[in-house]
């Protein structure tokens, strides 16, 4: 008589297998390894560097791998005043980043134009890019940037990644289960 047992249970691997939702696992992986694109344009970039250095240590949140190639980045940190001359260059770099991608607008200038109410300054990077987290301050302290990064991690952990990025596959699966 053949032995029957639950396919999902095996005493040999008990304790080594975790059941979870696919999205939760995917998001957990993503949020703990955010590679930033340091779009340093003004004084905020100095605080960004401070956040990456040993005292504040952005590596504690898995975001220490600053990549200067947009093709290897997950999150663009726009740190500084975006002039109109620079605006389309920022957009071009954003477009070269692979999906999924996020944007942190760091500081007053990147968020709203800040104190630069001027003919030369873009009044907030959200006029060009979809911003996920705004960090206030002029410039923000490194703690503020880290808090913004943690907010972004929270946001990523709530995302419906599979459905957002593979809609056809998700639909197919849903049909087959229906």
């Amino acid at each position: 008589m053949p032995e029957t047992r639950a396919t999902a249970y095996d005493s040999k691997i008990e304790g080594n297998v975790i059941f979870t939702r696919f999205d939760a696992a995917l998001n957990w992986v993503r949020k703990n390894s955010l590679w930033p694109m340091p779009m340093g344009l003004a004084c905020c970039a100095i605080e960004l560097m401070a956040a990456a250095a040993s005292r504040f240590d952005i590596a504690r949140f898995g975001a220490e791998v600053m990549r200067f190639s947009p093709r290897q980045c997950d999150v663009m940190i726009v740190a500084g005043t975006v002039t109109y001359k620079m605006a389309l260059a920022v957009k071009r770099i954003y477009e070269q980043m692979p999906e999924p991608k996020w944007v942190i607008a760091m500081g007053a200038c990147a968020s709203t134009g800040g104190m630069y109410r001027s003919y030369a300054v873009l009044q907030g990077i959200d006029q060009l890019l979809p911003v996920d987290v705004y960090v206030s301050g002029c410039p923000p302290r490194p703690e503020a940037l880290l808090a913004g990064l943690m907010k972004l991690q929270e946001k990523i952990s709530r995302e419906r990644s599979f459905r957002n990025q593979k809609p056809e596959l998700a639909e197919k699966l849903e049909e087959s289960f229906a």
Binding site: Y84, A87, T112, R117, S118, Y119, A120, Q127
Partner: protein, 191 residues
């Protein structure tokens, strides 16, 4: 040689080119006639030894005639003396002579004046905009250019929009109240 003496020497050599001179805290300024700028500039460098052009600036006296003014800030390393040459430029002037071959540093200064004020320079080797992009249609430092800017569009290069100057968290209220009341952080945010 003092600043005073260099002006006197300049007046002797160019009796009808120096319109008037002023002194402020020991520094001399003189207004010169536009059509002999290069002659005066060469004389200043070679005879009076003003070997260092510190800066060239321009002023828009909007509503006056002549409208523009260009200032050459000179310094003499051997004599440790300053001299300022002023040049009145009417709006209808096509172009002012370049001095980049006399002081090479004038190259970028003249580009900046062209970019911000729209004054052209005869004989400049590379008269492109230096701060704004090529094709930007305005001259932002002119007095008739609004602070909030004007909309413009250059596909794939740059665009500009009009900046909101009222409301928002960073605008100081115009009033006679103390700065504590006028400044943004003293006000509750506008909802």
């Amino acid at each position: 040689m003092t600043s005073q003496e260099s002006i006197e020497s300049l007046s002797r050599s160019f009796p009808d080119k120096i319109q008037h001179t002023t002194e402020f805290r020991g520094e001399m300024s003189c207004t010169i006639v536009a059509n002999d700028l290069r002659g005066v500039a060469k004389f200043c460098r070679d005879e009076l030894l003003f070997d260092y052009l510190i800066d060239i600036t321009s002023i828009d006296n909007f509503g006056e005639d002549p409208r523009f003014e260009i200032l050459y800030h000179l310094y003499s390393m051997p004599h440790a003396v300053h001299l300022r040459l002023k040049l009145k430029v009417p709006e209808e002037t096509e172009a002012v002579d370049t001095v980049f071959d006399i002081w090479p540093t004038a190259n970028w200064h003249e580009r900046e004046i062209y970019d911000m004020m729209g004054i052209k320079f005869n004989g400049h080797p590379d008269l492109r905009r230096i701060l704004m992009w090529d094709g930007y249609p305005f001259f932002p430092l002119r007095k008739d250019f609004p602070l909030e800017g004007l909309p413009s569009e250059m596909p794939d290069v740059a665009f500009t929009k009009v900046t909101p100057l009222e409301g928002g968290p960073f605008v100081t209220l115009p009033s006679t109240a103390t700065s504590k009341d006028r400044e943004p952080r003293a006000r509750p945010p506008e909802l």
